[in-house]
Amino acid sequence: MEQDRYIIRIEGLTKRFGEFTVLDELDLNLEQDKVNIIIGRSGGGKSVLMKHIIGLLKPDRGRILVRNRDIVPMSEREMAQVRRDFGMLFQEAALFDSLSVEENVAFPLHEHTSKSYKEIMSIVQDQLAGVGLQGMGTKMPAELSGGMRKRVGLARALIMEPKIVLFDEPTSGLDPVVGATINDLILRTKEEFGATCIVISHDISATMKIADNIFMLYQGKIIAQGSPEEIRESSDPVVRQFIKGEARGPIQIN
């Protein structure tokens, strides 16, 4: 029972780049059908952690269990099967710049479904409207602003209605109104198609609003976790400094 609560379990994950340890014996359990938000310092290894969850990076040590299956020793072909359940928004959107906005969003549908061109286009238009980009379908990624690219990336990540969605800073670089729309979209993703959302965010106030669980990554470990209330009441000085955004405290910028 206890095991089924957690769709992703990470045990003792260690990752080094050369001499530099980014993740250090990290343990993390992510709850199914919830919005799990990871916060932490810039350069702290959040994106690296996310890339481990989807198998883009292999750990030096540790286990990563997705639905109780360890993905670390898996072959690329087995991984491809696991990844069909996933959607991911990259920090820099990672749109295919040789394809138009429409083609980018339609890409997974063309690849993995046998839907007709017309069906796909209507799904794509709906999806683009959902992120506030109706009528932008024929533009090329290079013609878009950073925030618009991010939203196209979001539309693409969600188009297959994945069961697990990874969002790497979905709202950074967006104006507050669009940011709020995207936060609503994340909540809707969870509620409407019952997806597990894993979000990296620097936006503390939005995190407090939409998260079910918050995890704080610091010095390669999860140092605090809990509901927004628990995190807000945390007595850990690092967490307190981080969520209050204060310059003074145990976190040193060097």
Binding site: Q81, R84, E92, A94, D97, S98, P108, E111, H112
Partner: protein, 256 residues
């Protein structure tokens, strides 16, 4: 002195390692050839990019190569009154050697660099990761169509190159230097065998495979942002050209 040999040995080992990794990429791409989905549209796009779009440079350089060959050999042959052999010399050189090599080098410079820069940019902007995340194998999507297109298009380009080279030789030999046109052509028929042409085309295929593979490889393993892409592109072109010329020697030794 010891340092020098150390350096040489180190670099040679690095080179071997690189060749090994390249072969691994090749094997992966090769295996994807037989596994669906077959990417016909991408393949045709690459055939157009590598083949059709190179027509002009390959044609132009081949034409002038044929012309200069005629000019050079004419003066040598005139010393012992064998001017009519100019045609056969040009034709043999073009079909056996220069046609495939010029085509290979020109396509490496034109399409190989572009392939490397494109794939390299996709790497550093995480587009290759995005493909992987969407459960699409990037080797199958990016590498396989390009290598196959290179393998098929280079021989076709080489045919054009052969024809234009010989035509250039004819222009200079017959039109400018006044060799007898009939004799010029006759000697070509006499000395050039179909096997010369075929073997040249086999070479071209190998060159096409090499230059696309090397370019894809360097693009695929690019790191370090825009600067990295630039570095990878240079390496791709240099290594393609070197490997084309080196393999040319061995292929020639094997075939003729």
């Amino acid at each position: 002195m010891k340092n020098f040999f150390g350096w040489l040995g180190h670099n040679f080992l690095m080179f071997l390692q690189e060749l090994g990794r390249m072969m691994l990429l090749f094997v992966q791409a090769f295996l994807w050839l037989f596994r669906p989905p077959f990417r016909v549209r991408l393949f045709f796009k690459q055939m157009e990019f590598i083949g059709v779009n190179s027509l002009f440079v390959v044609g132009l350089t081949s034409l002038f190569t044929g012309m200069v060959l005629a000019l050079q050999t004419y003066h040598a042959f005139r010393m012992f009154g064998a001017e009519t052999l100019v045609g056969a010399t040009v034709a043999l050189s073009m079909t056996r050697e220069l046609g495939p090599v010029i085509t290979g080098l020109m396509v490496a410079g034109r399409a190989g660099s572009a392939i490397c820069a494109e794939i390299g940019t996709m790497r550093v902007t995480e587009q290759i990761d995005a493909l992987t995340v969407m459960a699409i194998n990037p080797v199958q999507y990016l590498v396989m169509p390009r290598v196959l297109a290179g393998f098929i298009m280079l021989p076709l380009l080489t045919i054009i190159s052969d024809v234009l080279g010989i035509f250039g030789g004819y222009l200079v030999g017959v039109q400018i230097l006044d060799i007898h046109g009939g004799m010029f052509m006759n000697r070509i028929y006499e000395y050039v065998e179909l096997a010369d042409v075929y073997n040249g085309l086999v070479k071209a295929s190998v060159f096409g495979g090499i230059l696309t593979l090397v370019s894809c490889y360097h693009g695929f393993y690019t790191s370090g942002g825009a600067e990295g892409v630039g570095r990878a592109t240079t390496q791709a072109v240099v290594m393609s050209c070197v490997l084309i010329l080196v393999s040319d020697y061995f292929l020639t030794a094997l075939m003729f």
